[in-house]
């Protein structure tokens, strides 16, 4: 079948294996030739080629809830359970996931493999901080557990390890308590990048914080943005506090012609969005879905970029070089007029010990680009700016970074390789991305 990531670029053909349980998966892994490479795949929400390989092992039928300890606030579930499924089960019990990325469609295994982060990274860290235990099937077909205490080096390599150590079949997660699933949101308008950084700094103790940024604004408007701050609402002692209503929004039924997204339409969209936010009330209370997953309400929004797809470029720069670096990136992007309507700026807190995890202290900016030939030289220029400022790119979004850029920016890659060689000496688990980045042959 034709396989692709959420960005719909690149595309490849692959066999899809959908084991019904971990025994079937173990049998499958043991029965295959050593040369056949495969990679685990959850909901297909990584953007580039990290979940593409000759054989894709889907976790969609490994989607059982196994155990919920409401006292200890620990949930054990199958790898294919999505974060949305978890919210559905947890919110009515007054529990909540401590880290939520921008979509609830991601699977638990995908969230672990990419060590995803949320709008609260500056305070609470990334997804794997709350992963207590992982069960995974190794290249040998053996099923092992790993955690901070047990097989800890395998755990550190698996969290954020992009599926290269084995196929995750089950995980235990720790949960938070909430009084209400609603979020009190406050928005602050910034007329340029300096003001945006100032707002972020001044509100560093806000639980959730993320800025939408107009990446096509130039000159004195460069970096104009709206910072959205969020706190869990206080309980109003109503039944609705912990009622989880799912939104069913519109879908994009087919790929729309990509010429609709051009410099003019995007600039117009961004300018009017910014203008609208400026006039809007600055405080409001939103449902969990509306606050955390606004894009989930437009099903298949990735089709808006046309049949050639798009690339999402997300990088992090350390705090002291972030302002300068992000300014250079925005100047480059707005000069070429290549950006689009999704640009997000957020502050990261401390990094963790996972070997290939993306977040490190500083600021992260996300930009979407329609896939076109002229884009690739621009992204290489951006790579150089990111490297010069001691930054790095997010593997879950990447579809084109070079091996050199990767190895220069992920200092733990050699330690990762040592562990990978120990558990998977013949590179059974390999993705198009891992081969491109020189992690597998």
């Amino acid at each position: 079948m034709e396989a692709m990531g959420w960005g719909r670029y690149p595309k490849t053909t692959a066999d899809l294996i959908q084991p019904a349980d971990s025994e079937t998966l173990q049998k499958f892994i043991s029965s295959q030739k050593k040369s056949a490479s495969c990679i685990g795949r959850g909901s297909g929400r990584s953007y580039g080629d990290s979940a593409l390989s000759g054989q894709l092992i889907s976790s969609r039928f490994l989607d059982n809830f196994l155990e919920l300890d409401e006292q200890q606030k620990i949930l054990r579930c199958g790898a294919g359970v999505t974060l949305g499924d978890i919210l559905k089960v947890c919110i009515p019990r007054g529990l909540f996931l401590p880290v939520l990325p921008g979509t609830k469609a991601v699977s638990v295994a995908g969230a672990i493999a990419a060590d995803v982060h949320g709008k609260n990274h500056h305070l609470d860290g990334s997804f794997c901080t709350y992963v207590k235990k992982i069960s995974l099937v190794l290249a040998s077909g053996e099923l092992v557990n790993c955690s901070e205490q047990e097989n800890s080096e395998l755990f550190r390599a698996t969290c954020g390890g992009m599926g290269l150590t084995g196929v995750i079949v089950e995980a235990s997660l720790s949960l938070d308590s909430i009084a209400s699933s609603y979020i009190d949101q406050r928005s602050l308008v910034a007329n340029d990048l300096a003001e945006c950084f100032e707002h972020i700094q001044n509100n560093a103790d806000s639980k959730y914080s993320v800025a939408w940024l107009d990446c096509l604004a130039r000159g004195k408007n460069l970096g104009r943005s709206v910072l959205y701050l969020g706190e869990h609402a206080a309980s109003k002692n109503r039944k609705t506090d912990t009622l989880y209503r799912e939104r069913s929004g519109l879908g994009v039924p087919f790929s729309t012609p990509s010429f609709l997204l051009n410099k003019t339409t995007m600039s117009l969209f961004n300018a009017s969005y910014f203008g609208a936010q400026k006039r809007k009330k600055s405080s409001t209370t939103l449902s969990c879905d509306n606050y955390f997953f606004p894009l989930d309400s437009i099903r298949n929004w990735n089709r808006l970029y046309g049949t050639n797809g798009f690339l999402q470029y997300q990088f992090v720069l350390p705090s002291d070089s972030a302002f300068e670096g992000i300014t250079s990136v925005l100047e480059k992007v707005s000069e070429k007029g290549k950006g689009s309507f999704l640009s997000v700026l957020k502050k990261f807190g401390e990094a963790n010990e996972n070997l290939l995890s993306f977040p490190k202290p500083g600021y992260t900016l996300t930009l979407d680009f329609k896939n076109e030939a002229a884009l690739f030289p621009l992204l290489e220029e951006l790579d150089r700016i990111v490297l010069a400022h001691d930054g790095r790119l997010y593997l879950a979004k990447d579809a084109r970074m070079s091996e050199e850029v990767f190895k220069a920016s992920y200092p733990n890659w050699e330690r990762f390789m040592t562990i990978k060689k120990k558990y998977d000496p013949s590179n059974r688990f390999a993705s198009l991305q891992s081969t491109r980045l020189g992690l597998t042959q």
């Binding site: 079948m1 899809l16 294996i17 959908q18 084991p19 019904a20 349980d21 079937t24 039928f61 059982n64 809830f65 196994l66 155990e67 919920l68 559905k88 089960v89 009515p92």
Partner: protein, 244 residues
């Protein structure tokens, strides 16, 4: 609502059971593998089922049907919806050359369902209400070369259901015949998938909706009614030459 699911470990059954669990129903599950049943039972409980029990049964042991169903009815305290989901997809080439295997497949997909329906009908008549829903297949609509053993077993069930529907009408019991098209599940793992394939979740939604509405014969998804209409009207002198 009290829901009995037979063949509960199939992908469609699992997706349907989750749908009922989220509505807060009580469920009783019947399937062969105890390990899988226990996993599914805890999954359904966490998803909101008010009560989940299960019994282990190899559905080809017809003699045990009555006993297992009786215990299911007493555990649930009556049944509002009984859903029969079990089945197996044989390799046509093998079964058409080997009667023993053909018989086994017809027993699994056809005869065992008739046995269950006999017992269920009696139980439902006692309580004078309820819905019996059975998953058959579009394969039962016309005997096609690649799967006519499976298709024959499924059409046996469909024909039986048509008659039974009339018999039970006066007892306030409703019969739904659900005919899924191509479903992307572990049972069909060996087939390459195309645009006509649907997920078990889509089929499950259709099942729940058609039981609620009291539909009779349901194609899932609905476009299979059109496809099978076209397949049905092809004249036999052409149809016999078709290999699809």
């Amino acid at each position: 609502m009290k829901v009995l699911i037979i063949g509960a470990n199939s992908a469609i059954a699992k997706a349907t059971a989750r749908n009922y669990a989220e509505q807060g129903c009580s469920l009783h599950l019947i399937a062969r593998s105890e390990d899988q049943l226990e996993v599914l039972a805890s999954d359904l409980t966490l998803r909101g089922a008010s009560n989940v029990s299960h019994s282990v049964l190899d559905l080809n042991k017809f003699a045990e049907h009555k006993k297992t169903l009786s215990s299911a009815f007493s555990k649930l305290g009556g049944v509002d919806i009984a859903l029969i989901c079990h089945g197996s997809l044989p390799d046509q080439d093998k079964v058409e050359k080997n009667f023993k295997q053909a018989l086994k497949e017809i027993n699994t997909n056809g005869i065992s369902v008739i046995s269950l329906l006999t017992e269920l009908a009696a139980k439902f008549v006692e309580q004078q209400q309820g819905t019996i829903a059975v998953i058959t297949s579009v394969a039962g609509d016309r005997g096609r070369q690649p799967n006519f053993v499976y298709g024959a077993a499924k059409s046996l069930v469909s024909t039986y259901l048509q008659g039974l529907r009339g018999k039970l009408l006066t007892h306030n019991i409703h019969i739904v015949d659900i005919r899924p098209g191509l479903v992307d599940s572990p049972m069909t793992a060996q087939f390459p998938k195309g645009p006509l394939w649907s997920s078990p979740e889509v089929i499950a939604q259709k099942i729940v909706k058609s039981i609620r509405r009291g539909s009779h014969t349901v194609y899932a998804p609905g476009y299979w009614r059109v496809i099978m209409f076209v397949v049905d009207v092809i004249p036999e002198f052409i149809f016999k030459r078709l290999k699809f």
